[in-house]
Structure formats: structure tokens, C-alpha cells
């Protein structure tokens, strides 16, 4: 099967500029979105990709065509856009960002009323409207409005929840690396407002990203060096749309993106509120240790922010997220938000009076392997079948791919929705035990 790099799926539309992502497709998708949600006030924000101007004009054209009253919010992190949509009671929003994908990509992410991603069934209906191509075009398109200082709502909300005095007293020095992305124009001010001393690296908007935007350890060398050089207490890295967060300790060592969520949850339960916690099926077991210690319920949702967010609502969870650095703080908004994450981790540092490496050291060690295998969609099903045979002694869940739990390790094998790829995750208590299971899986494949 020939696989296109254009991905039109329930996550939105994504493709490579100059190849698959054309203004025609963007216009059509925006017309479908406005038709589907019935027009109204729709905010548009983008990350810093150079193609944003092309994409944005097409988005506005499509929105206006189908009766929307668009609001141009300029460069804006996706959590800020979600919060703005919620607080201003808008009808929806479009974020122009390919998130952690490289610079040649771009994408539209669709936000519904209330500041959440479209629900999966809604996204499916939207695709129906898109493919049918029968749009509710209007005779009298509206004008485009500009939003005023849209990040400030987000910042105020967080600053109001955090004890900035204690952070200021401790004279915490932070290095932050927003990857020249959507957080770049805001993050320095934001961290200063929290009371820290800030050094920003990769803060300028450049043509193209200064590093690979995915905030995983191998992409964070600039940040690690800067933390050591400036003798900072902590380092933070965001991705291009600023929903995910990774942290580096005072020695310049990445703690692993699974541990940013773990530390935030640990702190929240210790200090803020005992509340149920929701994480997705791929999130590290360290969360279980934390919720057990705190004596609160842990629920696991399907992978994807909207699934975590909705389950948090159902279960009354105040904190949760996704293990890949997506921290969700319900008091701010049930969306993945690197800014809320940074605020709580800084408050944790200040309040505990400990070093960042010590805070990390208090959590049990797990070793996680994340791996991708190319497989056709049929092969993917066969792989799942073989693995469920092989690991039939474990506790098997088939909610989202195949998750198998054993006392000392777990594995999650999940076919991608958009690519002929199977994602494999194995977590054990040590590198050896994880490697051993991983080898067994690879032998089956």
C-alpha cells in the first residue's frame, strides 16, 4: 500500500508544505470545520513555522466562506488558545501547528467549544462533511477581528494559582528552551512573573527550528549545556506548540519526559489536593506508585489528550496527563499545558527546598523503551495477535491496541491511526528487565 504523507484524520489535517499540504486542502478543511460547528466565533492561533502565513490566510478564507467570524490571535501556544476559547466562550478554534513534527510539516488542530479538541466521534463526522464537500457557504462573509493579548488570560490564571513569593524568595534560576516555537514570545515573561530568574535558549523566532521540536532527551543538548553553564536549578524544554514539557535537573541531566508528569502529580497530591488521577494507557507505572502512596484512585484512558481530558471530567480528577510530558491541571484547564507544568514544578522546588535531582531521586526508578516498527495495517493486527499469545499469562487490556501488565513490567503495543507503524512501549523496573521483554517482543515480530 502506498502511504501518503498527507494525514487527514480525526486529529485534523497534517502534511508537508510544498508537497501534500496545499492551500486548497486547508481551505476545504476550514470550510468543513466551520460548516460542521455552524460558524460562530472561531479563534485562530499558530506556532512559529514559516508556513504559518500561507496556512493562516487559507484558514481565514475557508472560515469566512462558511459563515464564521474569525479571530486572529497570531502566534499562540495551543494550551493558551484552548484556554482563550473556553474563557471567551468562543464556538471553536483552529491551531496551526504540526506540534513536535519537523519544520517542513504543518497541520490544523481543531478545538471545540469549551477549549477541548473535537471529540473523536465529532471529528469523524467532520471528516464526513469534509469528504462530502457540501459546505454551508454564506453570501455575506464577516470580517476578521484581532484578539488582544491572548496569552495574558493563560498567564494570569496560572500565576493566580501559584505561590510566587516563595519561588521568588528561593531565587530559582531557570533555563528554558521553547525551541523557537509558539511559547517563544511569552515564556520569558511568564517565568519572570512566577518569580524566577530566567535564561532563555532557542528563544528567538528563526527560519526553521533550532532543534528537533520533540522534547526528548536526545534533542535537549543545548538546554543541558546551558543549565550547567549558568548553574541553573532546573531546565525546561517545550515543543513547538507548547503542550508538552521536559525537564533537566541542576546537573544538566534530562530526567526523562515520563518524570515531568510524575513529579507534577506527586507534588499536586502532596500539597494541593487529594484527587483522582487520570493518565493514558502508555504512561509510566511510576504514577501508580504515587497514587498508591497518596491513597487516591488512578484511572487510565485511551491515548490522546481529549480522552484523558474527558475522563478527568468524568472522574473528577484535578490532575492527570500523558506520560510523554503532557501535564494537565484542571484548575487551569483540562488540556496539556507546559506552562502549568513549569509553574507546579517550580513551586515544588521552592516549597521542598530540595534540589531537582533529589525530587526526582525520591521517585522509584523505571526504565521505559519506546520503539516504532514499520508494519502494514494488516501486519499490525498480526503482530498484536502474536504478542497477545506470547504474553497471555499477563493481565490483558485491548482498549487501545494491546496492553499487558505483569507484576514487574508492562507492555503496550499500539498500531498508529495514521501511519503503517506499530508503536511499542515496554517498561520494567530496570533496564535489563525491560530489554529482556523488548527482545521477546521483537522476536515475535
Amino acid at each position: 500500500m502506498r502511504i501518503s504523507d498527507l494525514k487527514i484524520s480525526i486529529s485534523g489535517i497534517r502534511g508537508i508544505v510544498g508537497e501534500s499540504l496545499t492551500p486548497q486542502l486547508i481551505i476545504k478543511f476550514s470550510e468543513a470545520f466551520s460548516t460542521y460547528i455552524g460558524g460562530g466565533k472561531i479563534a485562530v492561533g499558530s506556532d512559529t513555522r514559516p508556513s504559518a502565513e500561507m496556512v493562516k490566510n487559507a484558514v481565514f478564507g475557508g472560515l469566512l466562506s462558511c459563515g464564521a467570524s474569525p479571530l486572529d490571535l497570531g502566534i499562540l501556544p495551543i494550551p493558551s488558545l484552548q484556554i482563550y476559547t473556553k474563557e471567551k466562550k468562543l464556538d471553536g478554534a483552529i491551531s496551526i501547528t504540526a506540534s513536535h513534527n519537523p519544520v517542513e510539516w504543518n497541520a490544523l488542530k481543531l478545538i471545540r467549544k469549551g477549549g477541548h479538541y473535537l471529540y473523536p466521534y465529532e471529528a469523524e463526522e467532520l471528516l464526513d462533511v469534509y469528504y462530502q464537500g457540501r459546505f454551508q457557504r454564506v453570501t455575506n462573509p464577516d470580517k476578521i477581528d484581532k484578539g488582544k493579548d491572548p496569552f495574558s488570560i493563560h498567564q494570569k490564571k496560572i500565576v493566580g494559582l501559584v505561590d510566587t513569593d516563595i519561588i521568588r524568595q528561593k531565587k530559582i534560576r531557570v533555563v528554558v528552551d521553547p525551541c523557537g516555537g509558539a511559547a517563544s514570545p511569552f515564556v520569558q515573561d511568564f517565568l519572570e512573573a512566577l518569580g524566577t530568574e530566567v535564561i532563555c535558549v532557542n528563544c528567538g523566532l528563526t527560519e526553521g527550528f533550532p532543534r528537533n521540536p520533540e522534547p526528548i532527551p536526545e534533542n535537549l543538548s543545548t538546554l543541558c549545556e546551558a543549565v550547567k553553564e549558568h548553574k541553573a536549578d532546573v531546565g525546561f524544554a517545550q515543543d513547538a506548540d507548547a503542550d508538552r514539557l521536559a525537564a533537566v535537573d541542576e546537573n544538566g541531566a534530562p530526567i526523562g519526559e515520563e518524570y515531568t508528569l510524575a513529579l507534577a502529580v506527586d507534588y499536586y497530591l502532596q500539597r494541593k489536593k487529594k484527587s483522582p488521577v487520570v493518565v493514558n494507557l502508555s504512561t509510566s507505572r511510576v504514577i501508580e506508585d504515587i497514587t498508591n502512596k497518596a491513597g487516591v484512585e488512578l484511572h487510565r484512558s485511551l491515548v490522546g489528550e481529549i480522552n484523558v481530558a474527558r475522563m478527568m471530567g468524568e472522574k473528577g480528577a484535578k490532575i492527570g496527563g500523558e506520560g510523554n510530558g503532557g501535564i494537565i491541571v484542571a484548575d487551569v484547564h483540562t488540556c496539556r499545558d507546559s506552562f502549568s507544568g513549569m509553574a507546579y514544578l517550580l513551586e515544588y522546588l521552592a516549597w521542598s527546598g530540595k534540589k531537582f535531582s533529589e525530587l526526582r531521586g525520591e521517585l522509584p526508578d523505571y526504565y521505559m523503551i519506546k520503539h516504532k516498527v514499520k508494519a502494514s495495517f494488516r501486519e499490525a493486527r498480526m503482530i498484536l495477535n502474536k504478542i497477545s499469545q506470547k504474553f497471555r499469562q499477563g493481565d490483558i487490556q485491548t482498549l487501545d491496541g494491546l496492553r499487558v501488565d505483569y507484576p514487574d513490567f508492562w507492555l503496550h503495543v499500539r498500531p498508529s491511526n495514521t501511519e503503517p507503524v506499530v508503536r511499542i512501549q515496554v517498561e520494567g523496573k530496570s533496564e535489563e528487565s525491560a530489554q529482556k521483554v523488548f527482545k521477546q517482543i521483537m522476536e515475535e515480530i
Binding site: T22, Q24, S51, E53, N106, R137
Partner: protein, 446 residues
Amino acid sequence: MKDRLRINVSGIRGEVPGALNVGVVSKFSSAFTSTLEKGRIAICRDSRNTSHMLAMAVLSSVIAGGLDCADFGLLPTPFLQFLMGKETYSGGIAITGGHNPVSWNAVILLDSEGDYLDISEGSEVFNIYEAGDFTKASWKELGHIQTITFPMDRYFEELSHIVDVDRIRKMRFKVVADPCNGASSSYMKDFGDFFDLDLIPINDNPEKPFPHPPEPSVENASQVEAVVESTGADIGFLLNSDGSRISFVNEKGVAFSEEMTFPLALLSMKGKINKAITTTVTTSWADWAAQTIGIPIARTKVGQSSVVHVMESEGAAVGGEGSGSLCFLSFSLGYDSLLTLSLILDLMAREDKSLSVLTALFPERHMKKVKIDVPPERTYRVMDRLEELYSRENPDYTDGVRVERKGVWFNIRPSSTEFVLRITIEGEKQEAVESIEDELRDRMGI
């Protein structure tokens, strides 16, 4: 007819929403961009409520094709064409329905000099459109959008080489302007100031809807007529939505046909021009005016594309149409209403005569223009029948069928912008015109 698109060198035209929408406009812009050399495209739009939306589709598609946009925003098309003749552009796009009703719009493609495309250039774009084979720039090569303000002073500077500005200024003309809330609205004041006019603008807010159909004509002139009469103005005028056409109201508050515009402008250019081009459906006043100032006049097909291209190939200094349009080749390659207005003011100042006196010299002519709804699939049969009926009268086939009889002529042709047949009849006597209309209606069974 809402769902039908008209694609030709006078624009990609249709009703919005319907045949013309952001998707179609985006595809055409990508196709056009694909035919051009790297560089920048000049872009402007009129004040229609759909134009800013279509402009966004244009801007996105042009930069996606790797060319830059010089975005002039709301601007009369002739201004864009003027500037394109002076500066370097790869091409131009004007988003304007011109004289079409407000529910219509069009994308007009211009070459590097601001000239309409000819048929072969147009088909190149249309072929790429059909094939969907667009040039796509990588993220590094995407174009950029630059917002630009039109340099009005350059326009006036050039205008002062054509008309005697001081002579006009001294007259202190009182002028009623009706730009129909179109693209020219914002430039009325500058124009009035430059010529020291006592300007009385009406309908000059581009944010507001069109107060009447945006077509300069007697039927649409009643407001201007009333204001001229009540203010005692020397002249009043009406523009279409992109400032390419103009018609006038005299000092008595009487509107005259848009057919009068071109012949009047010819009189103004006495001694400055060698030759004029017009169309087979333009009034015979044009011949009279050309004769009066001693120049030859030739006729071609209807439309800015054919008139201007014939001017270029024949080396004719001036061209125009009965729709109230005029192009002066050394000024720009577009029909320009404010240039035309300047010429008429210059004529009034030079002769020191009122409009009613100037037009009293014109021989008696009566013209009737009739529009008949005929869908494209019926055009062939209807036209074929007419050709057969009139074949013995030695017709002219330049644009449809044109028959000349003693004291009267008529032309029937399919419109290139609307789904109608246009009948034009002109005679020395009103009765002759009416009898031709009866004859045609009878023979065509309408």
C-alpha cells in the same frame, strides 16, 4: 445559473457562494502563480462583501506557489495596472466583480505590465487549473505577503503630463462624485484636492453595501442627478465597483448614457492621439468624435483584453468602449475612470463650456441595449439561427453578428460575463431602433 462559472480572459467569474468560492479561487491563483516567473504578484480588491475573503484565498495560494504578494488591499484595478506599468511585478490579480451585481465576483489575471491576459496566455492558466498541476514551494521557498499603500502622488504626477492641471484648478469645478461605495471611494478626496475641485461625494463608504447596481448608466444615476440639481454642480459622475468605468450627469442634473463617455474623452484628446480603437458595439458617436478630431478609429471584439491588445499591436494611443471605459496606452494598460474624468474636466476647462453645451454638438443617435437570458447550452442554436437569418445582409462577425442598415445598425452577441445575449441597436431615429427591436424579438421568438 448560480452554479456556473465563467472562465475567460476577462476573469474567472461567478456568483458567491456558488460557482465562485474560496476553493475555486485558490485553485485559479495556484494555476496562475504556476505560470509566472519568480518575483512578486500585485494584488488588489474591490469593496464587495466577498472580496476580502477571496483575497485571503489568493494570498495563501500565491505564497504557497513561491511568489511574493504585494497586497494593496482595497484599490481600484486601474491604479494597480498603472503601478504595474512603472514597477516590476511578475503578474497581478484583481478581485472585483466590476460592474456585475453585488452577488457576483471575479478574479482578474494581469500580466507583468498590468495587461489583461490574451487568449493563449489565459488557456495556459486554465490548462494548469484543469490538470491541477500547481507549482508548490517548499517551506523554505514560500513567498511572503507585503502590505503596500498605493503611491497616489505618482499617479497624479503622471496625470499632470496628460491634462492641464492648472487650467482645471482655475475652474474650481463643483463636482458630485458617486463611487458606489466601491474601491475608488477612499481616493475621491485626494482627487478633489489635487484638482482644486469643490467635491461633493455621495456613496463613498467602502464598508457599506452598493447603493445601486455598480454599473454607470442612466438608470443608476438618479441620486447624482438630484444632488447635482440641488447643489448647482458643474458635473456629476458614477463609477463601477473597481473604478474602471464612468458615466456622467450634466450641470442640469441630466444623466447621459455611458456611451457618451468615450466620444467625449476623444474630443478632449484632440491633437494628442494618433488613432483610436473601440468595439463593434460602441456608439457611432465614437466615429463622429474621431472624425471631429481627425484620427482614424478601428473596431474589434468587446472586452478590455481585446481592445487593449489591438491598441498595442496597432500602436493606437487610445481605446475604449461604450460601457464608459477608456484606456490611454502611455498612461497604463487598463480602463481608468479617474483618468477619463480628468480628460472630461480638461475638455470643459479648455473649451470653457458646460457639459450640456459640449454634448449638444453630438449628432442625434438613439441606442437601445437589451439583455436576453439565454443559457450557454442554447446560445449555439440561437446564434446559428441569427447568422442564417442575416447572412444576406453582409454581417460583421467580429463579435456575434452585426448588421448595418441605412441609418441604423445592430449587434447580437453572447456576453462573456453573464449568461445572456446582448443586443445593441443604434439608429438616427428612435422609431428605427424600435422597429429593429420588434424585428429581432419576432425572429428570435422572444
